[in-house]
Symmetry: C2
Subunit: 374 residues, 2 copies
């Protein structure tokens, strides 16, 4: 087992990474106070891993509440949140109760937001069972639900008490979900660690074969990158943490436009990373060959790399609602070079429109309207 620390003063917490952590009740014990523990999971993950988590909680003598939601991004909703609140209240969970988020990013974000807001905040532990959640969403305390008008629009910063990343769970992960996690790993490397990018290229076939030792190594490396960024800018106010949104402005727009759950979050981020690299090349920061290097690695990991043919104007509309924006100006995360991301605020909606049309988006009749200045 490897342990990293997310150093955030009194909100610091450990990330434990290793095989078969979920059944380890001694590992869990320090993080669950109070009388009751609520396990939030989904219909795909629960049959596989809930029994061992339940057992380890029972061994600690806790009352257990279980909320099993349907699987998928479409359920990261106000309705699911209400189901969690209702179950907690019906079981008379109090401020000392602990929530366990057992699942991928959807469960982690939703359970984390429930923990942030139930009785004005209770403790929670992340038990990520997808690669994406293990390297990204379970680390850093961003919690949220989606809104029909935008992804992650409703949320809070609420750090977990611990992250228990059980690498054994990756063996049951469907290929698309596995690849989606790799997209975030590539993203972390692109943002601030070009050496890790080279490692990923070198280890490409071992990664795709899900070699256990290789995965443990790259997960720990990727978590370390993320934890370091979070440590430097916990609440995303300094323009550092925002860099983790590389590929996300495009990615969120794609997800919102397609409807949640059609494309996986990591898949949309992969397309977004390719677009960010290509736009960075157009701006002269990186070469076309470097942009192609990014595309090639993501494609090798089984990820989509082209924009679905949706109207450019609609995508831009979604991007204009992005949380990074200020004063109506679209803020993009682009690459100064491979391994160094930066915030770009000077690309106009009109230029973006042309860029998207040249990269697979549909042109549209409403174009003259949508190109009006914002």
């Amino acid at each position: 087992m490897q342990t990293l620390d997310v150093a955030l003063g009194e909100r610091s917490y450990p990330i434990h990474i290793g095989a078969s952590l979920l059944g380890d009740s001694a590992l869990l014990a320090p993080f669950v106070g109070g009388r009751s523990v609520a396990i939030i999971s989904n219909e795909t993950v629960a049959p596989l891993y809930l029994p061992r988590v339940r057992e380890s909680v029972q061994a600690l003598g806790k009352q257990i509440v279980e909320v099993i939601l349907p699987d998928g991004e479409a359920w990261k909703s106000a309705q699911s949140l209400e189901r969690v609140y209702g179950a907690l209240l019906a079981a008379q969970c109090d401020r000392h109760s602990t929530l366990l988020a057992l699942g991928g990013g959807v469960i982690g974000d939703l359970a984390g937001f429930a923990a942030a807001t139930y009785q004005r905040g209770v403790a929670f532990v992340q038990m990520p069972t997808t690669l994406l959640a293990q390297v990204d969403s379970s680390v850093g305390g961003k919690t949220a639900i989606n809104h029909p008008l935008g992804k992650n629009m409703i949320g809070a910063f609420h750090q977990p008490r611990a992250v228990l990343a059980d690498t054994t769970t990756l063996t049951t992960l469907p290929p698309r979900e596995f690849a989606a996690g790799l997209a975030e790993i590539v993203k972390h490397a692109l943002i601030c660690d070009v050496a890790h990018l080279a490692e990923l290229e070198a280890a490409q076939s071992a990664v795709v074969a899900r070699d256990a030792a290789t995965l443990a190594r790259i997960i720990a490396h990727s978590c370390r990158i993320k934890a370091d960024v979070v440590r430097r800018d916990e609440r995303e106010t300094l323009g550092i943490r925002a860099l983790l949104n590389l590929g996300h402005t495009f990615g969120h727009a794609i997800e919102t436009e397609l409807g949640y759950g059609v494309m996986l979050h990591g898949e949309a981020v992969a397309v977004g990373c390719v677009l960010a690299a290509e736009l960075s090349a157009e701006l002269g920061h990186i070469t076309a060959a470097e942009a192609e290097r990014v595309r090639r690695l993501l494609a090798a990991f089984g990820l989509p790399t082209t924009l679905p043919p949706r109207p450019a104007a609609r995508l831009i509309e979604h991007m204009q609602r992005d949380k990074k924006n200020a004063d109506g100006i679209i803020t993009l995360v682009l690459l100064k070079r491979l391994g160094e991301a930066y915030l770009e605020r000077s690309v106009t909606a009109a230029r973006l429109h042309d860029f998207l049309e040249r990269h697979g988006a549909r042109s549209d009749a409403a174009r003259h309207h949508d190109r009006s200045p914002t």
Copy 2:
């Protein structure tokens, strides 16, 4: 104008109390950054005060979004919250937008929670227009909405940037609402300032006549008590802030049992304070005459002081969901003496049941069930 400071480090903020503050755009200016301002109000308050607030925001050159909700505790709901989120998103409000809560406790709590959770947190300013909100709910950063299973069950700690308490708004306050605010003022005195209790008794007729100078004085005094408690225990983890819940464990149970909005929050708190005083007398902490002194002042302020005839078991069920509880034990705030509250955790559900039956609650067939240990 009087100004107090709520001293909370980087989250410190001023409370301005005085006549005609709502139209003062210079007073507002330091607290609204960004491009857009969302004013959240209700159908009763908006016709009276929205025009002058709108004008002062317009004078600052901001884009304005207005969300006018129906009036009443029943609207402190997930549905209303969704209306606010929808309006903010439709207007493309970003993280730099500011919410203004123009109304009573319901609007302040709801708009505050919307601000706490919109895009993981935006700034907000409290503009309380009821006495209750001016002395209590707008100060201290507790935000929340109700859940069908309990009051204020979903919420967050999120401090405002400023509180602008315009005492002119009290002239239009209906008598019941005015009295409801006095209940919280009496409550503050009971918790930690017996001298203020005597002042309130002495000023009784000037208070009831809404004498402007008298009101400004007691509002400032009451805010000072509240701000001091909040300063010592911002997130209610030290057992100090919890004392502000004097009368609230009973009060919330009454409100939940009757359905939100039947009895005003302050009215329920008045009944709760009387019950807390009477139980404190039964436990030998204060005399029956002192409990009667509490009841008499609240009655003189036009407040209800007796429990509505609802089943004791139902009330206890609601109390068992109270946020102050831990490990299933009901935590009450009682009086060690007048001007000194404390947390009491040794009164059993059975004893409470008998107490409530002797103080106006109905006995009930299901009693044997509800008295089972918890």
